[in-house]
Amino acid sequence: MKEIVFENVCKKYGKNLIIDNLNFTIKSGERLILLGASGCGKSTTLRMIAGLEDITSGNLYMNGKRVNDISSGKRNISMVFQNYALYPHMTVADNIIYGLKVQNIAKAEISSRLKAAVEMLELGGLENRKPKDLSGGQRQRVALARAVVKRSELLLLDEPLSNLDAQLRVHARKELVKIHQTYKQTFIYVTHDQVEAMTIGDRVAILDKGRLQVIDTPSNVYNKPANIFTAKFIGSPGMNIFAAAYADHFLKIGKQSVKLPEFWSAYIGKRNCREFYLGIRPEHIFLQNEKRKNSFVGVVKYVEEYGSHCGIYFDLEGHEVVASGTNTALKPGTNIYFTLDSARMHVFDKESKKNIGYPEVCYDNVYQYQSV
């Protein structure tokens, strides 16, 4: 299995810096997701691993060997393209085994691998069709089959599901995980869809403007985002972030202030954090019907209906904040009272925008509720 190391990797197109000093390691056999908005450099990163893009500077290692100058074909990898890149003039079977044929692999071996791939991806009966006679889902599975038969140690997937409709996507996600469990290759998977990232990835690397923002497990990325960008990027709607201050056990947001639990006071006080950014996910804001002690007040702006719940957007001291709720009857302009789940509160440094970390209790007690 392959371990891949990026060491100060940069990529420039002319003067444009596309990838800015990438340093991270992809562990052998893991499913790594490269996540980011379009143009963030995630596809370029994948293509550099594939050898389809030159590396401007820095080193890329596979299993300890520098591969900057090794051509794609020599890296022993497979890849699934966003548009599948099936050979239109070849049948499904030929598409799947073309790469093997070129490598002069024994015929018997080829046909057994083909059989296995056809079975695994439920392509039986389609072997002699041309790609143009297949549905989108079928094409996608042919592309996967083509990548799978190669039995390479590294499988690269470039938004492989983005051309499928929602239902097929759910099915295909399961299929991908199944493939990984069967062959245990290293998976590197590019997507802009956080649900895919969360469901498929062992780890998620989030890129923004060519820089690696974070690389961590899906759970940590969601629950303990390393910086403001990650916090906002993951989750739908993203995390609320607003400027806040700490003074003498009190959390101050604009003119409002409430008392913090002791573990936070100690934690923040110890770090001498006067002003910072406070992050809280919409589902960790508890709405109340009337004003209580320790609750904040905001003014409702509008309500978004999601079906199972709704998003309530309100103004808090000049910041737009969204909370999950069920009360769709709230009228814009009315006051709204709420508290924050202190165990799910995130504090980011004002300068570096990095997470300052969490008091002990937050780590251990995910379910411990203590409102602020």
Partner: protein
């Protein structure tokens, strides 16, 4: 590794380019040499003693202004006529259904495959009979029967999405409004580059004018060239090259100006659907 292998290709390409462009460079360079230098300093790209005398001589000894004008008239007339009739015919072939359409198109396009030599004799007799020998009109007329324009412009029109035309038709636009407001603007690049190519080809036409034109004052430029070549008195390469350069200027200029259009049109003139 990739960079090195590309370098290999680049060297190969540059070499190929060198071979294909070298004659042009030599022509330009020789046209500025004296005859004796053309013989003694064959490889010198920059003449030792550059001279304009070749150009002065060809303009003095030949009615070169008139000849250039003739060439211009021939090329422009042929171009305008062919572009107009090609656009009209292509429009009919793409947007109308009428009896015999496919057969007619087939017949017209088939003529692209008939080398001119094969209709040369009767054409010669026709032009002689209507008294247009030694007349640029006689050079122009047979050049007008060329179906490549219909082919190329039809290809371009077929790539316009039908819904655009249908939308216009829903708004009760007539044929000529559709043609003028929708089709023409969209096929403009194809029409321009087809026109440029018509112009260049007609400008360079040699075989037919050689048979038709007699007086030097009625010559077109490619014919002027043979005044300096292969006669009993020998070939004056310097003068020949000077005439060659004069002959090349306009096609090259047009090409360089419209290069993008031309390259794009022919790049997409491939056969799709």
């Amino acid at each position: 590794m990739r960079i090195e292998s590309n370098l290999k290709w680049h060297i190969l390409l540059i070499l190929a380019l060198f071979i294909s462009l070298m004659p042009i460079v030599f022509a330009v360079s020789t046209s500025f040499k004296e005859l004796s230098e053309a013989y003694s300093n064959v490889l010198g790209i920059i003449p030792d003693k550059p001279t304009l005398s070749n150009y002065l001589r060809i303009f003095q000894e030949l009615p070169l202004n008139k000849i250039t004008f003739n060439t211009l008239v021939v090329a422009a007339t042929v171009t305008i006529f062919k572009v107009i009739t090609s656009v009209m015919a292509a429009y009919a072939f793409v947007y109308f259904d009428f009896k015999g359409k496919n057969l007619l198109y087939f017949i017209l396009i088939s003529t692209i495959f008939i080398p001119f030599t094969m209709t040369m004799i009767p054409n010669y007799l026709i032009i002689s009979q209507i008294g247009l020998r030694n007349n640029i009109m006689g050079v122009i007329l047979p050049q007008l029967s060329d179906a490549t324009g219909i082919f190329l412009i039809r290809q371009a029109m077929r790539s316009i999405p039908m819904p655009l035309i249908e939308a216009a038709r829903l708004e009760a636009a007539g044929n000529f409004q559709i043609m003028a407001n929708i089709v023409l603007p969209l096929v403009k690049p194809a029409v321009i580059s087809t026109g440029i190519m018509f112009f260049i080809n007609s400008w360079n036409e040699y075989v037919w004018p050689v048979l038709i034109l007699k007086d030097t004052t009625n010559y077109t430029l490619p014919l002027a060239l043979q005044l300096f070549v292969s006669s009993e008195g020998g070939t004056d390469f310097c003068l020949a090259m000077a005439v060659s350069v004069v002959t090349m200027i306009i096609p090259l200029g047009l090409y360089l100006i419209f290069q993008k259009y031309i390259i794009n049109t022919f790049t997409s003139s491939g056969v799709k659907g």
